[in-house]
Each structure stands twice: as structure tokens, then as C-alpha cells.
Subunit: 341 residues, 2 copies
């Protein structure tokens, strides 16, 4: 098996305590012994056991990170931001993926607890009311600092970093209204999900602020996936039921909408207008002149990790940071010249 502190002690003829001091750069070791120990460490290719260390110190240095969709670039960027800060502060990150699945979430939390994480940074699956109370309990039982990202828990009050989804959708919708739109379709995912509720409110408020009302049929439920959004828009096209504008409420929903529109040759903004929420890699690459309210996910990750580290060092001021997405007007919001037949 791997070398242990005993092997090092024996080979360098010092005590365990001295070896431990050398490993941890602790004071009170003579240069001579230090050299001997370091030589032995190299020769035996020794690496301390995280397990023994945690056990004896009764404390890990792991921050748990739980995200719902590892292949979504939004979360990829968040992870980048978190690890950047955690690395710099000497914390390890244990990453678990829940696939938007409550059972996987429960299993993931168990694993994180087995590893005695110091704090949890999470975008919980919740949003389905049924599980809310349960998760609030789960989190509170963990008795460690919690930082939520992007989504709150309905019946809980947790610190975290959020985006102002409501204002973002208000701005997006207002922009479209100012361009003459009132027939604006928005795919809203699962209606009672926490992700959709604030955004729908922003949408509605924009109409209200302009003394307009909207057709409730324009808020169309679907799954939060590219495929589902694609199917919905495809059907609108086939039924000749397209509005004058579409809002992509999340990056995945935007991609599904665009996929259908492109497949059927519905051109933006010649035949239909479009505005979306969150960045889109396809836009970054192809410069499609899409009007987008963009979120800085890397920054969200950094802020979440920084907040966690504050909490772990006792600076435990309550903190809910609201980040404001930036709206880029690029042309796709313009009223269409002529809608398709």
C-alpha cells in the first residue's frame, strides 16, 4: 500500500510528531531533521492521506457543489468560477450532478454528507412545491453553511447569489413591446417551477406597464429542454400559428425555438422577432444578431464561492446577492417585415 507517516518516521529516524510537523510546515523543527524527513518523503513517494487527516482534525476542507445539469454551459461556467476561487483559498471541491432529478439529489446529498463537506453550494432541483419543505429540512439538518445559486427554495430562506430574472424578463418583454409587438409567445417550461414563475411575472408586468394585456395562450408550458421547445415551435409553424415575436426564457428553450425556426426557414427578424434570456454559444459563434439579456455565470460561481468562504471564516453576514443580467439589443427584436404565409 501507500507509504505512511510511520514509514517516513522510521526511515528518517525521527518521531511521528516531527514528520507531521514537516508535512504541515509547522515551526520547531531543526533544519537537519527537516532535510532528513523531506528526503524520506521523496524517496518513498509519500502523500498524506486525506482520510487520516480529516479524521484526526475532525474537519474536512471540502466544499460540496451540487448542480442540476452538468452539460448545460451555464453550469459549466459556474463550476469554473467556483473552482477558481476555491482553489485559491485551499479548498477542494466535490462536485455532484443531480440531473434535475430529486432522487439523484437525495443520493448526492448523502454522499456529500459522508464526505463531511464544510459547506454546500447548490442549485437545488426543487421548484416542485411537493419537495420544497423536505429540502428545507434536509438542508437545515446538515448544519453547515449553504449558498444557493440561481434558484431559491420556495419555503426556505437561504443566502445565495441570484439573477434578477424578473427584471430581465421585464426588460426583454418591454423591448419587444416598444418595437410594436403584443403577440409574444414565451415558452415557460414547467409553470409551477421556480425557474418560470419570476420570469412570467416580469413578462406580465411589462404588458401591464404599457397598459396592455396579453393572451394567456401565448405562455406555453413545456419541458426545460431543447427538444421540447423545438416541438412546441414546430407545431406553431405547422399550424400556421406563429406570433410576431418569441421569447426564449432559458438558454435551452432559446435553442429549441431557434432550431425549429431555422429548420423551417423562418428568418429573424424578417419573418419573426426574437429575444432571449441567458447567453447562447451558438450566438457567440455565429453572431446571429440576437437580442439577449446575458448572465455572467462565471461571476456567479466566483461570488458563490467567495460568500461560502466568508461564511466558513465566520464572517457570516446574511447575504443575498442579486446580479443584474445585461441586455444587449442587437436587432432581432425589430418588428418583422412580413410574417410567413
Amino acid at each position: 500500500m501507500a507509504a505512511t507517516i510511520h514509514d517516513i518516521a522510521k526511515r528518517s529516524k525521527v518521531s511521528l510528531a516531527t514528520v507531521s510537523r514537516v508535512i504541515n510546515n509547522a515551526p520547531h523543527v531543526s533544519e537537519k531533521l527537516k532535510q532528513k524527513v523531506e528526503t524520506a518523503i521523496k524517496e518513498l513517494n509519500y502523500i498524506p492521506s486525506a482520510y487520516a487527516r480529516v479524521l484526526s482534525k475532525n474537519q474536512s476542507n471540502i466544499i460540496g457543489v451540487m448542480i442540476p445539469e452538468i452539460t448545460n454551459p451555464f453550469f459549466g461556467e459556474i463550476i469554473t468560477g467556483i473552482t477558481e476561487v476555491a482553489d485559491a483559498e485551499g479548498f477542494n471541491v466535490l462536485l455532484v450532478n443531480t440531473d434535475e432529478n430529486v432522487e439523484k439529489e437525495a443520493r448526492s446529498i448523502r454522499i456529500l454528507r459522508e464526505y463531511r463537506i464544510r459547506g454546500l453550494i447548490s442549485t437545488p432541483v426543487t421548484g416542485d412545491n411537493k419537495y420544497d419543505r423536505q429540502y428545507v429540512n434536509l438542508f437545515e439538518n446538515m448544519n453547515i453553511p449553504i449558498v444557493l445559486m440561481d434558484r431559491g427554495i420556495k419555503n426556505g430562506d437561504f443566502d445565495g447569489i441570484y439573477f434578477d430574472d424578473e427584471t430581465a424578463l421585464f426588460k426583454i418583454t418591454s423591448t419587444l413591446i416598444e418595437n410594436g409587438h403584443s403577440d409574444i409567445v414565451m415558452l415557460i417550461g414547467i409553470p409551477h417551477h421556480i425557474v418560470s414563475q419570476r420570469r412570467v411575472r416580469g413578462y406580465g408586468d411589462a404588458f401591464e406597464a404599457n397598459n396592455l394585456s396579453y393572451d394567456k395562450k401565448n405562455l406555453i408550458p413545456c419541458e426545460f429542454s431543447i427538444d421540447s421547445a423545438y416541438s412546441v415551435i414546430k407545431k406553431l409553424i405547422q399550424d400556421n400559428d406563429l406570433p410576431t415575436a418569441i421569447i426564449g426564457m432559458t438558454n435551452m428553450l432559446s435553442m429549441g425555438c431557434l432550431k425549429a425556426l431555422y429548420e423551417y426557414g423562418v428568418s429573424i427578424p424578417r419573418n419573426i422577432s426574437f429575444a432571449g434570456y441567458d447567453r447562447l454559444e451558438i450566438h457567440d459563434v455565429l453572431n446571429m444578431n440576437l437580442t439577449l439579456a446575458e448572465k455572467d455565470a462565471v461571476e456567479m460561481g466566483r461570488k458563490a464561492a467567495a460568500l461560502m468562504i466568508d461564511k466558513l471564516s465566520g464572517k457570516s453576514v446574511p447575504n443575498k446577492t442579486i446580479l443584474m443580467p445585461e441586455l444587449f439589443i442587437r436587432g432581432s427584436e425589430k418588428f418583422p417585415e412580413k410574417t410567413l404565409p
Copy 2:
């Protein structure tokens, strides 16, 4: 702190051994005691410590996964495949990201060793000859099963799952040649990097097989990034130096090329032809009729995890699996009607 096995034993008035048996579903526990213990576990919200368990068993159940680019969807899919299999087999995954950086790689390996991983699944940064020997030593010193993905190590001989890059590029290039091309630019990244070498060979072999020779200037070095590829192609456009066809040798390089072409209105395949290696989300979404040799990265992840688990269970047959990417001919390979001015 968290409850321990002692707390459970005390509360349910049994011995530590009995609690341990219940936790591990071991035999020889009466139903009555089992109930008592389970009740106490629930009441105290007890979760066993991974650290104590690993320490006493002298063995972790962690598979280390080291990848170089967490935001690259290719690796995102690989992770999905690995965790799918690892979860099913009861292994935990510790994921580290090296950012294609040798120092981060070294630090990551140290962390993985601290956590006493049972095996390592990795796409090493290597490719720079300078570090090869060093990594071979590092890996061999770890004394655990190693499974490499996608890239080998030049001076080492490790089991793993690879794609047949050479044949893929041979097919891609041949397809273009058959369509009348001979002026074919390929961005090759860093020339001595292991990622480019086999692919360049496939490119060259296709010319040879057709009794043609190619202009060495058409193999253009760059960084392995969207931005770098973008700059190179942009310069070709501005210098009015475009070939009749471009090959995107990786997904990132493809995106950079496409970005520049789209920005300058160079249309595919009207003004220039294109063929690429690896899937492209922008293509999946927008159906750009790109001819692509596509890799199944999720499958690579599954196979890597399965191979690792075989090794861990002693079925240690040497195994280098070569996956064949599938070539989809979609039209972008056709010879351009007219190249731009």
C-alpha cells in the same frame, strides 16, 4: 459535530459492532436490534463518515477523473458517461479539471492521491514531449489502474479508449478530394501536440492515396481555441487567401473557423467548402448541413468506466479500445460554385 457510531450504539444500547453490522447490512443481527439501531440512526440523523470507513478498510471507493477542459462539451459528455456507469457500480467519482495546464495537472494528481483513488481515468495534458517521460513516471508511481481517454501518452503504453483520429481525418480529407478539392486548409493546433499528429497524418495519407500532394502552408498552426482559429481564418479572408475548403480538426477549431466565415459572409458551400471532426452543438441546433465525422463521447465515457471497473475487479486484460467516428455527409463538402473575389 455530526453523530457517530458511538452515539448510535449508546442510544440503542447495543455494541459498536452491531451498529456497524446494521449500517452495512451484514448478517447476524436480530430483527429487534436492527429496528432499534435504525430508529436511533433516523433520530440522530446519522450518516457514516467516509473518512473513518476508508481508514479502517484501507481502501476508498473513488475513481479519479481528470479532464483538461470542463467547459468543452466533448468532456461534459464523457463525464456523463463515466458517472452513469460508476454510479451504477457503487463507485464515487472525484473530478478534477486541469485546464490543459501541466502545473494544474500535477496539483490535481496530488489531490487525487491524497484521496487514495482506486483508479484514474484521464485525458492527460501531455502532448508536449518535454513532459511525457515525467507523466509516465507519475502514473506508474501511482500503482493503480489507469485508463486513458482520447489521448495517449507518447512514451507510455496505457490502456484506454481512443478514437481513430487518423482514419477519421483520412475519410474527411478523402471526401473533400473526391469533390474536387486539393487546396484544403486545416488548422492543426500545436503541431507537436499529440492531438494534431495523427490527424495530420490522416490528412496527408488521403492526399497520397489519391496521388496528390498538398501545400504544407495549408497546415496552419494555432492555439486549440475558438479565438485562435477565428483569428487565423479572419486573416486568410482579409488577405484574400482562402482555399477552396477548410477542415475543422477539433470542435473548438471548427467553431472558430465558422465564426470567421459567417462574420464575413463567406457562405458554405456556395463560397467555400467545409468538413469537420467531432460533433458541433451549433450544427445540432441550427442544422447547418455540415459534413462531420462525429464522435460518441458519452459512449467513450461509459467504456472508460467499464474498463476501469473490470480492472478493479481483477479482470485485467490489456485493452485499448479504438472507437470509430461516424462520417455524416451533409453537403458542406461540395465544391463551391464561386469563391469570393
